[in-house]
Symmetry: C2
Subunit: 392 residues, 2 copies
């Protein structure tokens, strides 16, 4: 554990929590020295949104990020106290109180008021790890304060996909106001956001942080050529990456160590071999036109919202002609999910440049964005100058 | 050296060539067992363009990529012969001759005719490495065949930036038809392309591969917070990355091991401390509004074509107000080079998601592209369906 792990991707944070929790049997190999910090409330501008997490290890190392470095030393000290007492604790920092507030007031992420829950890493986080591993969304509901029977750190889970929404709690389920939490939990999972909720029930005041945890989407890469490695490498932080080799491809796990899984199958069996759903983003780059054609067919028949195909548009038109001769026509809905030539127009033809173009496109589609310059969204800056200062 | 290095970035290939060449004194620690392969001619579709390079080590490992895996085993065998004879050699592969041409004909990168120069790694490549290290462009001119005095593998360099263009050659400069090569060499460096040229001079027929080698652009990141690490990591393959820390930042080299260099200075001294030119792309993310403001001022006064500033547009407007109070106005030309909020709109707020957004934007600007979907450039696919098949 060194400083360089501070900005590891969220997926790595979850994996580390799983490592610390140890085996499935409660307590087995459990590392009880790790302390989890979760940002539960923000006023003013902040680097991360509520739900951002960091894991503090006893040796001073950490994983994840809550701020861009402004508070980590303070948090490390507070985590040490939590480690010693074993009790969850809410801490708050008001960086606006700083005497230098004029200087720091516009520092991105280093101002505003932050409230952070610190807790010893405990078995109550296991369902979050399980949901992550299984690619399921879940709302992690954590008590921050209660006039009633619950205590800070007590936890329940809301599973939106089970029987129209189901709550699970370690403590007595009757203590949880599930009726009052059901709708916000569902909404927060849908939006992938966290929020601090206050509910007053028969005079009892309860504060809960509801953390909409969205499992990372899956990137299925059909192909195992040398050009696949940069795509895996660049996508690993944001996606659960599956590399699919055809024609008896071997050694995939060794060749793509950063992939979450590797599968060898035939392109016509993709839907059988993989669980393709509306969170599956697929990249087809086997460099074999027959395999690519069969893979595109399979993927477009699945609910995958993105099917990117490497190669020029003409190559797909040839495939389409071959399909047409077999009586297979593509619907408009299918073609709207097909991106060929794959990628954003970033202009770099190197293997890494192509991989950047692919991963950026998949991110934009997965997040439902039009991938232009953010600076252009508000209009060009220089037009404002023209108005304010005359044409310079 | 393992298989996983096949798709290392070009910059890594140059670094490996430098390692193999050893110290500056000729022959010192030189590893004469490595064989360099350069793609010099392509007919038909291919994965890489002429100029793509691979380095073959004696232990069977390699760096770089010429195809997506279709030819590497063949090339490894040919490289072994070149290693044994010590003589450069041109090899060609016509994948269209394959009996399965109907099957493979549309495989991306696995068809067409490829001509590849194999040569023992030699001191004649040192000027290319030096140009790479110094961030200078150069055209590497390599003889493929000559009726006259030159031999396959003989080499000259064209330096476009020196005295309006200057040729350097190991062999007798009079043997080189510099007048006939001057203009194409200049053009190929400008375009960053390689091309095989045939020149007939007084009955002498000369074939030269002119490889326009463009040094990687520099990415200067002003800031040393935890959020800088993912930007360095994602940009390392395509840029020479410099991390600049302010306020006496220490341990930068340890904290950003993938950076090519780290510098600690003050934001108002950026132009003195760094060589900022029209190949400098700058990202400002110190999270301190004063430092960011001074850095933006310095960078916009430099020729850097891209200055990206993290944070909302309002943060820059506040900076601009502060500048205005000091009498500093920005010109339209300056503001056109300023991108704030930084990044493409990819929709991911995680540290890696933000880094993807930044690196993709810098790539697009560096390559002068509008970063939309490549698939949209030719018009949507489904419109073609509507015409061809009626509205499905």
């Amino acid at each position: 554990m060194t400083d360089s792990t501070w900005t590891d991707p969220e997926s790595e944070l979850l994996e580390r929590i799983r490592d610390r929790l140890g085996g499935e049997s409660e307590g087995e190999d459990e590392d009880t020295t790790a302390v989890l910090a979760t940002l539960v409330d923000v006023e003013g501008s902040a680097y991360r949104r509520p739900g951002a997490k960091m894991l503090f290890d006893a040796d001073g190392g950490g994983t994840g990020a809550i701020t861009a470095g402004c508070l980590e030393d303070e948090l490390q000290r507070a985590a040490t106290e939590v480690r010693e007492t074993g009790q969850p604790r809410l801490v708050s920092y008001d960086l606006r109180e700083d005497g230098e507030s004029d200087v720091w007031g516009l520092g991105v992420g280093c101002n505003g008021r932050l409230e952070i829950l610190l807790e010893p890493l405990a078995e109550s986080l296991r369902p979050a790890v399980t949901a992550f591993d299984e690619g399921r969304d879940v709302a992690i509901c954590t008590v921050l304060a209660d006039d009633g029977p619950l205590e800070c750190g007590d936890r329940a889970y809301y599973h939106p996909d089970e029987r129209g929404g189901r709550f699970d709690a370690d403590s007595d389920p009757a203590d949880w106001p599930t009726d009052a939490l059901d709708r916000p939990a569902r909404e927060l999972v849908e939006r992938g956001r966290g929020d601090r909720l206050e509910r007053t029930l028969d005079g009892r005041r309860l504060e809960v942080f509801v953390d909409g945890f969205v499992a990372p989407p899956e990137l299925v890469i059909c192909g195992a050529g040398h050009d696949v490695a940069p795509v895996v490498e660049l996508a690993a932080a944001e996606f659960r990456v599956t590399v699919v080799g055809f024609r008896g491809a071997v050694d995939l796990t060794e060749r793509f160590p950063e992939a979450d899984r590797t599968v060898t199958t035939s392109p016509a069996r993709l839907r059988d071999a993989l669980e393709l759903d509306d969170r599956t983003y697929a990249v087809v780059m086997s460099h074999n036109v027959v395999d690519d054609r069969l893979a595109v067919d399979e993927l477009l028949r699945s609910p995958a919202p993105y099917v990117g195909l490497l190669g020029p548009r003409e190559r797909f038109e040839e495939m389409r002609a071959a399909f047409g001769a077999e009586g297979r026509q593509f619907t408009t809905g299918e073609l709207e999910r097909l991106y060929t030539p794959i990628g954003l127009d970033l202009g770099s033809g190197s293997p890494y440049g192509i991989a950047h173009s692919i991963v950026a496109e998949v991110l934009a589609v997965a997040n439902d964005r039009e991938p232009g310059h953010l600076s252009a969204r508000d209009g060009p800056i220089h037009e404002r100058v023209d108005v304010a200062d005359g044409r310079e």
